[in-house]
Amino acid sequence: MDWNFVFVSILNGVVYGAFLLLTSLGLSLVFGLGRVVNFAHGALYAMGGYALIAVMRGAGAGYWPALVLAPLLVVPVAIAIERATIYPIRHRHDIYTLLVTFGLSFMIIGGIEYLWGTGTTLLKPPPPFTGTVDILGNQYPLYRILAAGVSLLISAGVFAVIQLTPIGLRIRAITDDAGMAEALGVNTKWLLTLVFGCAAGLAAFAGALGAPIFAIHPEMGMNILLDSFLAVILGGLGNLPGTAIGAFVVALTKSIGGGYIADWSLALLFAVVAVALIFRPTGVFGRGRVA
């Protein structure tokens, strides 16, 4: 067994896991809070990547300022979208937000393809992080380590906000029982928009941050969307620590499995999820059964 290969696969898994964490947390929060399954989440991730290159090429900016600007550009757009299309139908059956965000996904990806074409853009890691670093005899790209570290830091920040701040408390209360929270006078309307905006920001940031690692193309968000869904299912609705674990399970399964079982890694992943669902059928995503 090529231990170096396994080791690098694990490293890749951890790196991808860190990114997956950013997108999955956002997805989980939005779902836990408003029961909205945001199918456009992957498209928002892609928007982050494209906003990055738009700023870099259009304004001639460097990578770092573009990295900061990209999510800031995407968030207002995301909020506008949420107010225009999701907020008006929030009282309808869950199906509708599912379908609307699905349609939005098509729109966003279609828009990206129209504006930037269907090709793939590769980005080099920004200086001074262009080199590799030696880890246990393996040369591993330095930028990946940095990006993973940044992602983990931000995720920790999200956790801190949710666990320690008053607004985080409100979010947790509503996630547990929306009806009760509303009765207590918690203003849920703008809260959902705020959280949606933040989730979009996280996704866009992940897209921009990951551009030098994962390449940029219109459908770049789809795989990470799928993986995020799996992570959230594994972890449970609105359950952030669970989602975090789920993200790394998914990322590591993909990266380790992908090495040895080429092209079948996703099938393996599905088997994992299916097994998980058999043991935790109703509790994972359903409403608690109460009259």
Binding site: T85, I89, G103, F106, G110, L269, I278, P281, T282
Partner: protein
Amino acid sequence: MKTGARTSRASALAAVAAAGLLAVLPFLGAAPFTITLLTEALIFAIWAMSLDLLVGYTGLVTFGHAAAFGLGSYAAGYFAREVTADFLASLLVAQVVVVAVALTIGFVATRVSGVAFAIISLCIAQVLFQVAVAWRSVTEGMDGLVGVPLPKLLGLTVDAGTEFYLLTILIVLAVYVGLSRLVESPFGRTLQAIRTNEDRAAAIGINVRLHKWLAFILSWAIAGIGGTLMVFMKAGTTPMSLHWSESGNVLVMAIFGGLGTLFGPLIGAVAFVFLRDEFTTRFEAWQFAFGLVFVVVVLAFPTGLAGIITHVWRSLWRARS
């Protein structure tokens, strides 16, 4: 006879009349390209109606319905090429494969509700897509299955063009009438009860899980019929038939047409095929336009074309009395 049974008789007759009208089109001088487009539209209609059974009538939104269709295509196509191009035999084989897969996957998938189900269904489709790409020895990977011969019905070859078109019309009619009966039956009503209110349905003695499972299997089986027809029409298939965007397309057809009506998705499929043909030749950003139409329909016209038509029809009726 109760009113309900009378109207379903009427609609069945209307369906036969419509089928008859469609059937004579090639003989009235319709262009071959129009016939081809219609054939494709009718095949999609079968697919969209099967989706309606699951989404519109049972309330199980699926983002992976391409899997059922594509699986049917691959199974029938492979059989037709390797063994015999007999249409009924290929159809049977495809049905066996699709039902077997739906049975197993459905058993797990229907354990979960609403949202999780939608996501799992997407995962299933992705997995089957991956299988189609990776299992090169059978599916020939991204190149796809090619060289599927023309189908044979009772020993006679069904030519592409008008003959295949007529075969398709026949099958669509059978599916439509069959499904219409199904949704009006106690089983169909039970599915709708589950869609309306699962708890209430369980409280009146309905075995919700069993019914969801059956609906899933039936829905896949019918989609598989569509897939079988398609693989013969295109003389092959590719993994793209299992792609998530295809699942999106069939959802568009069904929603645009009007979920929960059967004839809605049917006209939705026809509208989709003809509109797409228009869009792709005229607009570069057709995917964007498509998404836009989808969003607008979901927001403003949740009952789709069928809803609009029924509304108009009812107001005319009321105006007369």
